[in-house]
């Protein structure tokens, strides 16, 4: 264990620590971010009234929309001179959600990732190939700093270029790979198709650290079988810190939440009421130690369940189930967050295109595929193929540059997209995740 004192802290003591830190965090947000002050005042709540963990339910929620409304730095609680890094989620300009980190925040971020790696059995003797994208996305740099914090040899290869990934696994003696689970399967596919002589069991690869998108137990078994490794889930979201909010342990059953930095509640997504431990609902996060970007009761929209068990790994931290659902319409495509409304916004930029579209998400082989069907009306129709091909190319390019995804655009006849009770069915998700 990377931090035995915290990770095995008795429940009661942990709750005391949480309350003490919550008092600081809630006041920090209230005193330094006008948005929180206004919102708390309107709800008739003052940080002085926070006497027990139960009082948390009186505090209003923070939503993704609040973050968009205060783009880019509006919710930061320290001067920009104290902020050393930003990360941002995908989105059209002005719609992205931006988060900031002080030096101390980066320290915490590195610590929780290091703890996660240690819980999978990774040590300073390991060689970790970080195949998450490096950039505004928290995955690459998050794993990188955590790996260095642990003292492991860190290979910052970033995502993509599968032949090179395999070359380094072999030549560098990589023992741990960190990437999205779908990319792990993509690597397995690549070996099968293009490198029949590559023997994965002859490499030193032994552990996979997978996150940034929902994945199932079936996918774990497939990855483990094909890449001959142990596959572990790392969970997180940039709004809270990035990967390392919670992680699996040797038991591969539920994820331990690092409760000394993140306070978690489960609510009914319809009513916002807090649900008792053990019930399924939307998980809500409050940061306990973050300086630059305190998140107070952030509605994650992820659906899960919280519970305590006597985990064989020895950790006493509360557990959450693997997240497989959302309480909104957000799609996660190859680790990129996509809302149907963003798809619509891109289509609406094209003169003549009407808002009749349908998004079909499927997992073909191992990678997520997104197909957007667009109805062709008279305004965009032409007797020339090249005009229609240019139209699909233009839309494809816009999707790539604005949303960061490559989507297949299919032109379809009018009235093809099913309309049920006057409302179009916007998304068909054929991936089987639960």
């Amino acid at each position: 264990m990377f931090n035995k004192e915290i990770e095995t802290m008795p429940e009661k003591k942990m709750k005391e620590l949480q309350l003490e830190r919550l008092k600081w965090s809630v006041r920090h947000a209230y005193d330094n971010v006008p948005f929180y002050k206004k919102k708390f005042d309107e709800a008739g709540f003052h940080p002085d009234q926070l006497k027990s963990l139960d009082d948390m339910r009186r505090i209003p929620f923070l939503t993704k929309q609040d973050m968009r409304d205060h783009y880019p730095y509006g919710l930061f609680a320290v001067p920009l001179s104290k902020v050393v890094r930003v990360h941002a989620s995908s989105g059209t300009t002005g719609n992205a959600t931006v988060v900031g980190y002080t030096k101390n925040d980066i320290e915490v971020f590195s610590e929780v990732v290091a703890r996660s790696l240690a819980s999978y059995g990774v040590t300073e003797k390991d060689i970790i190939q970080v195949a998450y994208g490096y950039g505004l996305f928290t995955g690459g740099l998050g794993l990188h700093y955590g790996s260095e914090k642990l003292g492991a040899l860190t290979v910052p290869i970033s995502g993509g270029n599968t032949p090179r990934q395999l070359m380094l696994i072999k030549d560098f003696g990589t023992t741990v790979i960190a990437c999205t689970p779908s990319y792990a399967l993509n690597i397995a596919d690549y070996i099968e198709k293009n490198m029949p002589d590559f023997k994965i069991e002859e490499t030193r690869l032994r552990i996979g650290v997978f996150g940034a998108e929902p994945w199932t137990e079936a996918m774990r078994q497939e990855i483990e079988k094909r890449l001959k490794i142990d596959a572990y889930d790392i969970y997180g979201l940039s709004e809270v810190i990035g990967p390392g909010v919670s992680c699996e342990c040797s038991e591969k059953s539920g994820l331990h939440v690092f409760e000394d930095h993140f306070y978690v509640e489960i609510i009914d997504p319809e009513t916002g009421e807090v649900l008792p431990e053990g019930e399924k609902g939307e998980i809500v996060y409050t940061s306990l130690t973050k300086e630059a970007f305190p998140g107070i009761r952030y509605r994650s929209r992820d659906i899960t369940r919280l519970y305590h068990d006597s985990c064989k790994c020895g950790r006493t931290l509360i557990k959450m189930e693997k997240v497989t659902g959302r309480s909104d319409d957000m799609l996660i495509i190859r680790g990129v967050n996509v809302f149907p409304s963003q798809v619509e916004a891109v289509l609406m930029e094209v003169p003549g295109i009407e808002p009749h579209y349908q998004i079909i998400v499927d997992r073909k082989g191992s990678m997520d595929d997104i197909e957007v069907m667009v109805e062709v009306n008279e305004k965009v129709f032409s007797d020339e193929i090249k005009v229609l091909n240019n139209l699909t190319k233009h839309i494809t390019d816009r999707f790539r540059s604005i949303l960061g995804i490559s989507a297949k655009i299919t032109l379809v006849e009018p009235q093809t997209i099913p309309r049920s009770e006057g409302k179009a069915v916007r998304v068909i998700d054929r991936r089987k995740l639960s």
Binding site: F381, S382, D383, I385, Q415
Partner: protein, 145 residues
């Protein structure tokens, strides 16, 4: 002088072309010649019909995406090498052909081909200047619509 072509957007799936043809059949519209340009997902059906205005209207009424375009019907000798010669002439005149297709029936011993030029007016002028006979609309679709 221009011939009006009727084009329709058709999904590349069984039954879809048939649906368009049924609409035209039910309205008693005769197809004189046609061609389909296809992609993996869809095709563009291009037709010369006896009444393109009505064809356009009835397709539209049936929610089929369609349009009308002016094309040229040009007489070409029905002999080996004459299409080559015609295209050679077009190339020399720098006329770009978007696509072309033919009529099934000969007209007074000559073949008639439909050409979709990038710039129809420039093409028309150049063709007349070089002695090509552009077939009139009335000769193709007849007076009696």
């Amino acid at each position: 002088m221009n011939v009006t072509q009727l084009s329709a957007f058709v999904a590349n799936k069984p039954g879809h072309l048939q649906r368009v043809l049924k609409v035209l059949a039910d309205e008693n519209i005769n197809i004189i010649t046609l061609t389909i340009a296809e992609t993996s997902d869809f095709g563009i059906l291009r037709m010369i019909v006896n009444d393109p205005e009505k064809g356009y209207r009835v397709l539209k009424e049936n929610n089929i995406t369609c349009s009308t375009t002016d094309v040229l019907a040009i007489e070409i000798d029905d002999r080996p090498g004459s299409l080559y010669k015609a295209l050679d002439a077009f190339a020399k005149m720098n006329l770009n052909i978007e696509y072309m297709y033919a009529f099934t029936e000969k007209r007074e011993g000559k073949a008639v081909m439909i050409f979709r030029f990038e710039d129809i007016e420039a093409a028309k002028k150049a063709l007349i200047d070089s002695g090509y006979n552009i077939v009139r609309k009335i000769d193709i679709i007849g007076e009696n619509k």
